[in-house]
Symmetry: C2
């Protein structure tokens, strides 16, 4: 019987498993958001995020899911008469293009087949026309388990198209994968906290370059809730424009302390090890959905080469072990399934899960 008070242990690619010590942070007494206690919490948290994301520029905390920042990047930094190039390689990068259209902007699509990467060469070909103000890239496509070569793309863009703004959806990448924001020359990058930060959903982190802020100041009708210019003004006082989601910020503060103590390179390496474990298993037992060189270290999309009934397998695991993993996303349902290996999930957690899947499908 369905009981939301006794939910399954999560290996879906977000929300991911949250440890009890993290959950407890959400239950701390709340604060006045214009008081000195909040400013202290905010400043501490933003300082740690800047270290973890290698930026000296603007780190904002948004009371929204990351999809709010899809919209914010477009509405703030692309003028109504400009064109944005949306690279598309899966459900989430596709959705970002549709969000850009819903903001009334001119969108040109650069599509590759789901499971393939967006390469510097493909982007270069498009940008050569000179007609784009910005490019959207999904660093790690959660629907296909693919990591785009974001570093190579960024290098090409800095060299050949330094004036084109770079917007990066880092939803299932941030913290789990390297992200040297300033060095990469990115303009907007963001993630929700229910992925590699290992916090329940309800908050997003956005990094915005100084030049993106300057650009925003000249874009009309930016609205209010996601207005980067107003955000920056509030951030000067270690506040947010609107009343923020304080419990989640407390949990974020807690997780940032842990990440800094561990060392971010070690965190990336831990994700790499988890990725290797799950990929090794997938290759042995089934297959990988995307080319191995682009396979993600935060989640794996397994190719269902043996015609396993995935929905039934997930159901069985929930019944026997109160544990679930993810079916394929959208049109990839039953053709693939997805296992998250990010945040506070451990190698031991994954070994247990994989053994259960083996048991159910062998």
């Amino acid at each position: 019987m369905t009981d939301w008070k006794n939910p399954p242990r999560l290996f879906i690619p977000g929300p991911v498993l949250v440890k009890d010590d993290v959950l407890k942070q959400l239950a701390r007494p709340t604060l006045g958001h214009r008081g000195k206690e909040y400013a202290q919490l905010h400043a501490e948290t933003v300082d740690m995020l800047k270290k973890l994301l290698f930026t000296g520029q603007n780190v904002f905390i948004s009371t929204s899911s990351a999809s709010g920042i899809w919209e914010a990047a477009i509405r703030n930094c692309v003028a109504p008469d400009e064109t944005v190039l949306c690279t598309m390689c899966g459900a989430f990068s596709d959705k970002w293009a549709s969000v850009a259209k819903s903001c009334g902007r001119n969108v040109e699509e650069l599509k590759v087949e789901w499971g393939r990467a967006v390469t510097p060469e493909l982007i270069d070909e498009k940008l050569a026309s000179g007609k784009y103000a910005a490019v959207t890239i999904v660093y790690n496509e959660t629907s296909t388990g693919l990591t785009n070569p974001a570093y190579d793309i960024s290098k090409m863009m800095r060299e050949k198209y330094p004036d084109v703004l770079v917007f990066v959806d880092a939803v299932s990448a941030m913290i789990g994968l390297p992200m040297h924001f300033d060095e990469l020359g990115w303009d907007v990058a963001f993630a929700s906290v229910q992925k590699a930060f290992a916090i329940p959903p309800g908050l997003a982190v956005a990094v915005v370059s100084d030049r993106a802020l300057e650009k925003a100041a000249n874009v009309p009708n930016r609205g209010y809730y996601f207005d980067f210019v107003k955000w920056a003004k509030s951030a000067e006082k270690s506040q947010t424009l609107v009343t923020p989601n304080i419990p989640h910020i407390m949990a974020l503060n807690y997780q940032c302390h842990k990440l800094i103590d561990e060392g971010i390179e070690n965190v990336w390496n831990r994700h790499k090890q988890m990725g290797e474990l799950v990929r090794g298993w997938a290759k042995e037992k089934l297959g990988l959905f995307c080319e191995e060189k682009y396979a993600s270290n935060t989640l794996t999309a397994v190719k269902n080469t043996r015609g396993i009934n995935i929905a039934e397998t997930i159901k069985a695991l929930q019944e026997k072990h109160n544990t679930i993993f993810g079916n394929g996303y959208g049109k990839l349902k039953e053709q693939t399934f997805r296992i998250a290996h990010m945040g506070d999930i451990t190698l031991d957690d994954l070994k247990e899960l994989l053994a259960w899947i083996d048991e159910e499908t062998s």
Copy 2:
């Protein structure tokens, strides 16, 4: 020394005091937002909200503060060539007008002095021109402690201007003050949960009429994050468009159960009693900022008739009792101060606070 982990007990008009049993709900294990557990939580919560708000129409849960719905109401339900009449009687109703402008809409302002109410007569005078598509009203103006005669306004509008949409900021009103959404003929009404729901900030509740939804379907460039049409489609499956703030929805579920058990009329009455207590004290010791007939039952703005140093008084209370109340908002700082009496605050809590203020200022 400032320590966000040991914050003061809150009598500011939001975030308000949250009881420990409510805080604990935030720390429950999290859910997959596309799974049956989440749908169960969502459906249960929305059903209760519909009862509490007397509506058979659309109740949405938004991962945002209520200010997101300021923008959503305008962007969804006012076409770019239409004009919205913004009634303004304090900091928050003023801000809503500026938000409407930031969305590129035509705004006409109906201003009354801070501390005065917006009356049906004033609105009638404006609407007689026939040029407005919608009116914005703040039910309870948190900056001035004033409750606008929302029922009388609604009656007048239903009778004389049934085609004009009615948008109501119910931020510090919802739950604390009567709200018969369908009967009032409102189109959009919303609140954050850190007011009378007595939950930490991070979530908003929005009620949207069927006709507002129909209107939205024909308004272009609504964006994505706050798109009512997309929200309604997800709500059919007891889901939200974007990954929702699940911990807060769990706490909201818990609070709705308690409110339904108490009976919403009893809840309103409890707020009335708290309002009477604080107003009685204010009239005896200092004064009320607004006319008593409009004075709010969820917070009181006290007129500083004795030239008390309010900032110093708040500081003293924090030092001695780790408790704070609110200074006046914006230009009303030091001229007024504000005491919240909503949510899970009790008469005993208030008596203790008032005694401490007396002690400090006599």
